[in-house]
């Protein structure tokens, strides 16, 4: 594992394979970024249909977006549901991460697999399953049902991030607090929680991003108050409307801010050495 880093850099001069690799990488990046670039570009263009030639800078689609109001309303719904779901998921995730980091118990890896399952099962299947249950107990068709189901989906990502941070906490830190007379509960609140804070914030942001972009489950369980991706879908199947580009640019901006937040919060800790290893 470490042998790779110990070796000196490849000594040969420039060769064909490397150039081919770089060229392929460039093509790959173009493919990966083309939809994002197109979407943002045409949100600022006067074109009625996203096509060339460009007709010049314009903010008309943002104005239209604002005037129509439906997508903005949906953005409002998403901005209620996703932070709420992320908050509950982070609380659940923190507690579970603490329990799995500190305690030994039977079936720990089974538990981890169980909690990760919602991410692995296709959202289509989960959507039908959630709807089947929620419709029976008359909880479907509201923002509250989206909230309930999104928590299930996003607890695992939040938990993993917090686990990463907690794994860096020396056990002696907690032990010292106990020896000095703190109860376990006080230690959890005053020692573990502050230590885990960057992980908690990062986990929250990650959970928020997952929920904010989630479409399929929300499509099944949300009703007349759609979340933003659901509202985008209903516009999308009906007509070509460049205000989708405008809302899309706003969504990308929100996701980008969340991601930069995660990077800034977590990067210093990911590179830090694992203190726990004995």
């Amino acid at each position: 594992m470490t042998a790779a880093t110990a070796l000196p850099a490849p000594r040969e001069p420039i060769n064909r394979w490397k150039i081919a690799g770089i060229v392929w990488l460039a093509i790959g990046y173009v493919f990966l970024f083309i939809p994002l670039v197109v979407l943002v570009l045409f949100s600022f263009q006067a074109n009625k249909f996203p096509a060339l030639p460009l007709q010049g800078f314009s903010l008309r689609w943002y104005e239209k977006l604002w005037r129509d109001g439906t997508l903005i309303d949906a953005l409002g719904h998403s901005m209620i549901v996703s932070p709420a779901a992320a908050t509950i998921a982070t609380i659940l995730g923190f507690l579970a991460a603490y329990a799995t980091t500190r305690f030994e118990f039977k079936g720990k890896s089974l538990l981890a697999a169980f909690l990760a399952l919602p991410i692995l099962i296709p959202p289509l299947i989960l959507g039908v399953a959630f709807l089947g249950l929620l419709a029976r107990v008359h909880l479907s068709g509201t923002l509250f049902s989206v909230f309930l189901t999104h928590v299930v989906l996003i607890t695992a990502p939040a938990m993993v991030v917090i686990q990463l941070r907690l794994a860096q906490m020396p056990r002696s830190l907690e032990e010292a607090a106990w020896d000095l007379g703190a109860t376990e509960w006080q230690t959890l609140r005053k020692v573990v929680l502050p230590f885990a804070l960057p992980g908690i914030l990062g986990g929250w942001l990650l959970a928020f991003t997952f929920s904010f972009d989630e479409f399929m489950i929300a499509w099944f369980v949300s009703g007349f108050d759609p979340t933003l991706p659901v509202a985008i879908y209903s516009v999308l199947v009906a007509m070509i409307d460049p205000s989708l580009n405008a809302i899309g640019t706003i969504v990308f901006a929100i996701s980008a801010v969340a991601l930069i937040g995660i990077e800034l919060l977590l990067l210093p800790y990911v590179t830090e050495k694992n203190v726990e290893e004995e």
């Binding site: 594992m1 042998a3 790779a4 880093t5 070796l7 850099a9 394979w17 490397k18 081919a20 690799g21 770089i22 392929w24 990488l25 790959g28 493919f31 990966l32 970024f33 083309i34 939809p35 994002l36 197109v38 979407l39 045409f42 249909f49 096509a51 060339l52 030639p53 659940l92 507690l95 579970a96 603490y98 329990a99 305690f103 030994e104 169980f114 909690l115 296709p122 959202p123 289509l124 299947i125 989960l126 039908v128 399953a129 959630f130 089947g132 249950l133 419709a135 189901t149 299930v152 607890t155 991003t209 972009d213 479409f215 399929m216 499509w219 991706p229 985008i232 999308l236 580009n245 899309g248």
Partner: protein, 315 residues
């Protein structure tokens, strides 16, 4: 490690046991909320899904019973009328071919990152490659629609440059579905394959080079066999995700997109349009169960292949 040892001691001598930091009410208190939430809102719905396939709808009322009606309906329409069977075949075809393209694309990108990018830029190159994963999926599909559509970005660009003969007529065919799928899957697959490649010991490659192998030989005899398991994992992952995806098929494939199989929708797209038009939850649940079974089949097959590949590399 030490904790596990402590546990066994406790098991042997329960009477003389001392209270350790491992016995704390916090263990239960911390796990309980998550377990309750997941039990009620995850385990129960999954069981309900399997069960709901046997319910019936009469006069717009769902009746909880045990009836095979939904499955009989699906079986009767397997190749006639709604043609669920053909949709399933189409799903396999598009998911498998799309998965192959996605893995090939991602493998080449991962190879380029690991072997052509200088060490200190690799992390950045990887971060850059997976950045699109963090943007909204539905918006990416929408953007692909504007890129690929008849008078979309690509075609209007070709027209402008006088290359009209090369125009791209892929929108609302399963080719467009595959493009969307490859784009969706690529970041995840790149991560899987990047990890696979970085785990290959560079010393082995250096040794082969020193002994006079060409780069092509190194790739064929060392890198490719050693990435076999990673490629299998990535491939099965791609196929399973592709089978469960409804968005690309609906928005880029236009519902019933053309492919070699014919103008047949994907099973997943069919499922959501079926639900949107009939709101027949029991039948939707039955269809979802069938899709789950198909996915389990693929999973089982890929486990079998994975085992074989692992054995082959171990030798």
């Amino acid at each position: 490690m030490t904790m596990a040892a402590a546990n066994t001691i406790i098991d042997i001598e329960p009477a003389a046991r001392m209270r350790t930091p491992n016995d704390s009410p916090l263990k239960i208190i911390c796990l309980a909320p998550t377990l309750v939430w997941f039990g009620a809102l995850f385990a129960v719905p999954l069981i309900a899904l399997l069960w709901a396939g046997f319910w019936r709808v009469e006069n717009y009322q769902t009746i909880i019973t045990f009836s095979l009606e939904n499955y009989e309906q699906v079986a009767a329409n397997f190749f006639a009328k709604s043609r669920y069977g053909l949709a399933l075949v189409q799903t396999f075809w598009v998911a498998i071919t799309g998965g192959i393209f996605a893995v090939a694309f991602a493998y080449a990108v991962a190879l380029a990152i690991v072997y052509a990018v200088p060490q200190r830029w690799q992390r950045l190159a990887l971060l850059f490659a997976i950045a699109p994963f963090w943007s909204s999926y539905i918006l990416r599909v929408y953007a692909w629609q504007t890129v690929l559509s008849k008078n979309g970005v690509v075609n209007s660009f070709l027209k402008m440059t006088g290359l009209d003969w090369a125009r791209l007529d892929v929108i609302f065919t399963q080719t467009a579905t595959r493009i969307g799928l490859v784009h969706y899957l690529a970041p995840i697959l790149i991560v899987i394959l990047y990890v696979t490649l970085t785990n290959i010991d560079r010393a082995v490659i250096e040794a082969a080079r020193d002994l006079g192998s060409t780069r092509w030989q190194v790739f064929k005899k060392i890198i490719l066999p050693l990435s076999g398991f990673g490629l299998t994992v990535a491939g099965s992952f791609a196929v399973i995700i592709g089978m469960g995806d409804a968005l690309c098929g609906a928005l880029l494939g236009g519902g019933a997109g053309q492919s070699i199989i014919g103008k047949v929708p994907l099973f997943a797209s069919m499922l959501i349009s079926d639900y949107a038009s009939a709101t027949n939850l029991p039948r939707t649940a039955a269809l979802a169960t069938i899709l789950v079974l198909a996915m389990l089949l693929v999973m089982w097959a890929s486990f079998a292949i994975g085992e074989r590949v692992r054995k082959a590399t171990a030798e």
